[in-house]
């Protein structure tokens, strides 16, 4: 549905987006992830034909954003970072105006306005001035505006920014409900959001593509070796740290043992194992056989947050290296 090839956006002094390539299949929800200023908004603006790319191509539903912007615009619903609302208009009046802009008319228009009002839960403020609405309502009116012409592709720039937790959940459910019939790209810097709503993640940092994969694969990839968190307590007497560490290291399949923290007679270790080896059972047995208490034993799965930090950090470290190299004569 969306094909992006080496998309680049250069400004006078900076390169906001640097040769990004990715593909989004029909009906997918894709999370566009990156720290502030990574180039998310710029990329989305290029996809919506608001900004022309400096180099590379982007195709939406088979139409190039540079060659056939009208066709692209007809098939795209776009919610910018701040909902594009006119404060002096009423909700229904505004949605009607946007609907007309997108080419709807007559009965169809009225039907769609009613539908999106219900769908986005803004029916109760139909007759209110947009300028008087709360942030949550404005955001939902923004979303209603984006789907009014039932577009094939939805591009949402931080759709949950500034909402309260309840509204965030409602918005996420709404977005999930829209997938299937729509292809959705949503940008965010809130990671759980991606974990919960998206099937696929595109991570960018400093305008460069860092990773693009499904959420599950990404977690597996970043984790690399399995690691397990073990908490051990000794009931009588003090805990001899080197002894415990040595014992744990002797368990077959364990590659590294790290003491994370020690409080009195309790200690927490992070145990890394070789890839593909399950060591939890052996670990538990060893601990019990030595007469210690096993307080906790759980896999230390990496949250998307850690993956994200890891990936973006590596990337920036690498670019730093290259820039220092370049600066040397």
């Amino acid at each position: 549905m969306i094909t992006v090839k080496e998309l680049t956006k250069r400004y006078a002094r900076t390169t906001a987006v640097d040769q990004i390539s990715f593909e989004v299949a029909k009906g997918q929800i894709v999370g566009f992830l990156g720290p502030n200023g990574a180039g998310k908004t710029t990329t989305m603006r290029m996809l919506t034909c608001f900004l022309p790319p400096s180099a590379g191509t982007a195709k939406v539903a088979g139409f190039d954003v540079l060659d056939q912007p009208m066709e692209v615009k007809k098939r795209i619903g776009y919610l910018p970072e701040t909902p594009p609302i006119y404060p002096e208009m009423e909700t229904a009046e505004y949605l009607k105006f946007v609907g007309k802009l997108k080419g709807l008319k007559g009965q169809e228009l009225q039907k769609r306005v009613d539908y999106v009002c219900d769908r986005c839960a803004v029916a109760d403020v139909k007759k209110k001035l947009l300028g008087k609405l709360s942030k949550g309502y404005r955001q939902r009116v923004g979303l209603a505006q984006a789907i009014i012409h039932n577009p094939e592709v939805l591009i949402l720039d931080e759709p949950t920014a500034g909402l309260d937790p309840k509204q965030i959940n409602e918005t996420r459910d709404l977005i999930k409900g829209l997938s299937g019939s729509h292809t959705i790209i949503l940008s965010t810097h809130i990671l759980p959001e991606v974990e919960q709503t998206c099937e696929q993640v595109i991570i960018i940092n400093n305008g460069k593509l860092v990773a693009t994969d499904s959420v599950r694969n990404l977690q597996a990839r970043a984790r690399g070796a399995e690691s397990v968190l073990v908490e051990i307590a000794v009931r009588d007497g003090s805990l001899d740290l080197p002894v415990v560490q040595h014992k744990l290291e002797q368990v077959s399949g364990v590659s590294r043992v790290l003491c994370k923290q020690q409080v009195d007679s309790r200690a927490q270790f992070e145990v890394e194992s070789e890839k593909g080896r399950l060591v939890r059972g052996d670990l538990a047995r060893t601990v019990v056989q030595c007469g210690w208490d096993l307080n906790e034993l759980r896999p230390a799965a990496m949250s998307l947050e850690e993956i994200f930090l890891k990936l973006t950090k590596n990337e920036s470290a690498e670019t730093e290296k290259t820039t220092t190299k370049e600066s040397q004569p």
Partner: protein, 255 residues
Amino acid sequence: MRNAWIICRKELGSYFVSPVAYLLLTMFGLIFGFFFWNALAYFVVEGMEMQMRGQTFPMNLNEDIIRPLLSNVGVVGLFFIPMITMRLFAEEKRTGTIELLATSPIRDLEIIVGKWLAAMVLYGCLLLFTALNFAFLFKYGNPDWKPLAVGYLGLLLQAGALLAIGTFISTLTKNQIIAGAATFGVCLLLWVLGWVSGYERATWARVLSYISVVTHFESFDRGVIDSKDAVFYVTVIFVGLFFTARSLESLRWRS
């Protein structure tokens, strides 16, 4: 052009929902009302004095009231035009709604024409206030309506040209005040440029006075449609809107 009409209706809605339109209409009504009363009072006093002196010069409503007043409307309009155009694009750029327009399946030209048309309609509403005053002349006197109609046509063309320039200037900034002040400066300059022709006959002076929007109004004010002047105004409208389109386009390449 259906899209241009949609934009135009929306802009008119913005003008008339906010106090902008009413403020402009009230101020213009007051100012023009004063001008009208002033001209009429002078006309009446003059007429009585002439009768007392026993002179029977023909006095003419068209020549003595309508013509100077129409030219005044043009000048007063210079002050109101920046207030009409300053928000057209500056506001959309500030609030980000320009993104909605730019990502909708409509052409830049349709957006521009729609907005310019809305500004024209609002200016037309201002002119309606003057028509209200002139109606009294028709009730109690017998002026010729044709020069008046031509005068209105001239005013609309003149305003169209200035509004096109104002629309263009509004695309250059996010700040309404800057857009308004710059438009006002340009409008004023285009008015006073004509003054040099009063004392100078060199080519440069003729060029300057040709650029002045007010000199081209004189023929309309006399009740004559001079194609040369009409073409001038229409050209300025087209050039202004053309520059607006280019400016919108460059906005995308730069921002």
